[in-house]
Symmetry: C2
Subunit: 373 residues, 2 copies
Amino acid sequence: MFEFQITSKNNRARTGIFSTPHGDLLTPVFAPVGTQATVKTLTPEHLKGINASLVLSNTYHLYLRPGDELVRDMGGLHKFMQWTNPMLTDSGGFQVFSLSQTRKIDDDGVTFKSHIDGSTHRFTPEKSISIQENLGADIIMAFDECSDPNEVAYTKIAMQRTHRWAERSLAAKTRPDQALFGIVQGGVNPELRAESAKFIASLDTPGIAIGGLSVGETKQEMRDMLEVVTPLLPENKPRYLMGVGTPEDLINGVLRGVDIFDCVLPTRLARHHSAFAPEGRLNMMNAIFARDERPIDETCDCYACQTFTRAYIRHLIIAKELLAGTLISIHNLRALIRLMEKIRAYIAEGIFEFHAPELLAQWSNNAKRAGNG
Amino acid sequence: MFEFQITSKNNRARTGIFSTPHGDLLTPVFAPVGTQATVKTLTPEHLKGINASLVLSNTYHLYLRPGDELVRDMGGLHKFMQWTNPMLTDSGGFQVFSLSQTRKIDDDGVTFKSHIDGSTHRFTPEKSISIQENLGADIIMAFDECSDPNEVAYTKIAMQRTHRWAERSLAAKTRPDQALFGIVQGGVNPELRAESAKFIASLDTPGIAIGGLSVGETKQEMRDMLEVVTPLLPENKPRYLMGVGTPEDLINGVLRGVDIFDCVLPTRLARHHSAFAPEGRLNMMNAIFARDERPIDETCDCYACQTFTRAYIRHLIIAKELLAGTLISIHNLRALIRLMEKIRAYIAEGIFEFHAPELLAQWSNNAKRAGNG
């Protein structure tokens, strides 16, 4: 059910087809994030319109609201939010560590207080899998502990715990129609990353996730860790770099053999009026756009760019109209999905490595605002 | 260019076709309100999906933001907001009296302060027409004074001023591709309403608006004023009842010969989680919907009802996801547009008067929340 077929390679970068119960994913793929069973301000029709294939949703959030048993009783996450393509849920671990109030970790699990109402809850590997089975995504994650990469001594403890939890997650899993991925941890320590990669690779899972990056380390550290990890992973399993990231991170990840990415960046930027454009990231509220009759990106095929001017989008922002966030979200997501489409085409033609420096240069421009912003 | 052809009649109710430069309007018609050049949270595609034909936008708001000259320079309101069907702008008069800070009225016009930044501005009939010509809607309004219906002595002064301003508006108008409607005023005084109807009917305009209703008078007073006014208006011009209203008001208006309506009610209710449904107005945040797998309205053909459950929409509200407002807006607007489609069919078949009591009973239910709300 979860076959991964590599269709072309360009050194370590590869294209593939990952088959899931809700259809085939063409990799490398970027997944929009639908934290609370919705990609903020967008309908499923909007997502289909930008050729989104995989959508991520968050176990921690859905467990708290509306509750995983409710989602199960409503027919599962796909039916609940009416997304008919593949879905992925995380384990809840990262949000427990980053969002919840006071939490207490022990070898069995984590007790935490909800960020919404302060109520007390407990996640264990078995509980995380149970929640994810109720949600019913195609790809689910082992419960893990994502530690602060700067606390070296603790990173080892957290990694070892993550390994034990991966085994428990695998043992707890019952649904044959879900692919469980183990998660490589180890902070920014090459030895720990190597140890973790080997351990997670030894488990019988259809794919492997790389966690604990894009959490405060440098860009160089992220690249270094990928250099250590991906060569130790089996070729024939898809690799998912969790919560990453910027367009440059995607390009750098694919160059190092990553197949799946997700990030809230494009939609979060959109709600703050920031749009990806060839000349750099645009602050669409800027007065210079007041009479700009061009679309956000003249090369873009999305609904926002095919329909509206920068002048109109700026007006919506100034007038505090929520449609601005919807339109920029459509564009920003489409920009990253188009980038992945281009990367797949380049890999298939064997020219990705040749074009990567030019892609990186173009998108590094987008790490900061355009000069006019 | 602005022909009005009556296609069927049922006592005073009638169906018609009003031809405009952006297409034919089938009347009676309900116009969604796009205050600031957008129907809040919806794209033009959403509006086409619910068969919206006429969209209203507000002169006062667009004059302040982004400015009518900017809209003109961007190609006019249709192009700016990418609405290709007919549009209507009001004169700005009502908002000057209801929204602006301190204002001073004289026979020449009104000086007022912006509700946004307190800056001082002046509207005259000539200025209102100039702004509306810059915006470029198909149907535009004469500048009028909408007075408090309870101040009887002043109502006469305001009405007489409205008549002089209607003549000045007509004289100021230059664009042949816009239909200017004069506005009948006169508060809740039958004599003044009759005098105003006769005066406005005497002007050479392609249509006539009825203003100053739905501003605090009783439902009975509104019906009474329509009983006085519409028999005094020429048959062959469309009649537009401004800012009205509830579903019952629409039915009562059509029964008394009104052809065009607009109101913010369906979208405003939607943003407050209130949805039109056969059993009454539903508060979609209510816990009883948590596991309700039905759509908002099982008889509705809108995207929201064809796609999502009440349980999902309630989840979006509880999780503070803006998509809830979008989906309920789509449904509430479609509900009123469907009502008008049904009314047109009933009139064409000569059975509208027969069915009106049943329609009124059904929709009076929606004036209040359903028992479960």
